[in-house]
Symmetry: C2
DNA sequence: AATCGGATGATAATTACTACCAAGTAATCG
DNA sequence: CGATTACTTGGTAGTAATTATCATCCGATT
């Protein structure tokens, strides 16, 4: 299986292109182009660290000393909504435990966060053949398949639910549909 | 690619077996077998929901009204450490953002939580050919490859760092090596 | 330039989780 | 079986990440 770390040069070129189109994309998404948003997307695109909100905050603060941490959180969330950023995992809200310790993967409903086990023996085989990627030593892996569960698929397009931290995975449904499908 | 939801019958049988071996495995792991731990692993194995600590707490409370939520959090963590449970994602501490919205995957250092982008075009192809899994409608996917980064690989075996919530992903290193390699 | 709706900053509130410590109890040994 | 001891637990305070609230501000449109 082809499988390689993305190199720095390519990432930088990509970031430059994305930044150039940013204002245009904001308008298309119905968002105002503010200095804060520009600074935040610039910081995000400049980083290869997959940063947390507070790291972006520290970076942006150097040029915008008055920016609020809340703005950074809000903006990153907004960027995800218009598809200008993504979260590394959609399950960052709280720890979800699994009693099944046999290697397997998960389908996750992007609306209600329902999770079901999936077996993909071939994927396990392919990855366990791989001892390292770049200079990282591989230990294991876990595939998150983003999907709509049968209950949520019927409900039409997401009515942007508010992001009460962990408000819904308990029982209810939550939105922020993040389509990561390949292109 | 073979790819299917794990069915309920199989899961139940697996859970029964695991539960039977639990006491033995605890002792092997140097842990006391307490009623609380038994109740928690039983609740976890009985659930197909990939529950959060609070859901386990609500279940266990019916039989152990005095159990503490802190115990549930601690115990689930402990179970992961001795390999009797796993977390659905190891990145649940806090949101990590990515400016790269082109479909790709991630290598994550299990010690310091460093993340790097990985491209696996074949995986994208295989999954985008798949429109549904069971009754879930597939939108996209994200593979988490668990690994040791070059810096952490040299440092020998993990000295169990304390779990200060988000204490290390900023810069430092954190442990809880969770080997999910196939078998 | 006037208007207006969305955006921001400051801060309070919420949530998930961990730290701490006194008291309880499982495992070991006699 | 009972004493010993170290590991566990419960209760609770504390911490960190994130969201809510709301007055003020400012980008976009006219």
């Amino acid at each position: 299986m082809e499988l390689q770390l993305v190199n720095e040069g390519r990432r930088a070129g990509y970031a430059a292109r994305r930044l150039a189109e940013f204002a245009e994309r904001c308008r298309r998404g119905g968002l105002a182009v503010t200095p804060q948003r520009l600074a935040i997307i610039r910081a995000l695109l400049a980083s290869a660290e997959h940063p947390r909100a507070d790291a972006i905050y520290e970076t942006v603060r150097r040029e915008h000393p008055h920016i609020s941490l809340a703005t950074v959180h809000r903006t990153l969330e907004t960027l995800c909504e218009i598809g200008e950023a993504r979260k590394v995992t959609m399950l960052h809200d709280s720890a979800r435990y699994d009693g099944n310790v046999v290697p397997h993967h998960h389908v996750i409903c992007v609306r209600c966060r329902r999770i079901r086990d999936v077996e993909i023996p071939e994927l396990n085989d392919l990855l366990s053949a791989r001892r390292e990627i770049g200079d990282f030593k591989v230990l294991g892996s876990s595939l998150e398949i983003h999907a709509l569960c049968p209950d949520c698929a019927g409900k039409g397009r997401a009515r942007r639910a508010k992001h009460g931290r962990g408000s819904s995975p308990r029982t209810g449904c939550k939105d922020s549909v993040q389509d990561t499908r390949g292109g």
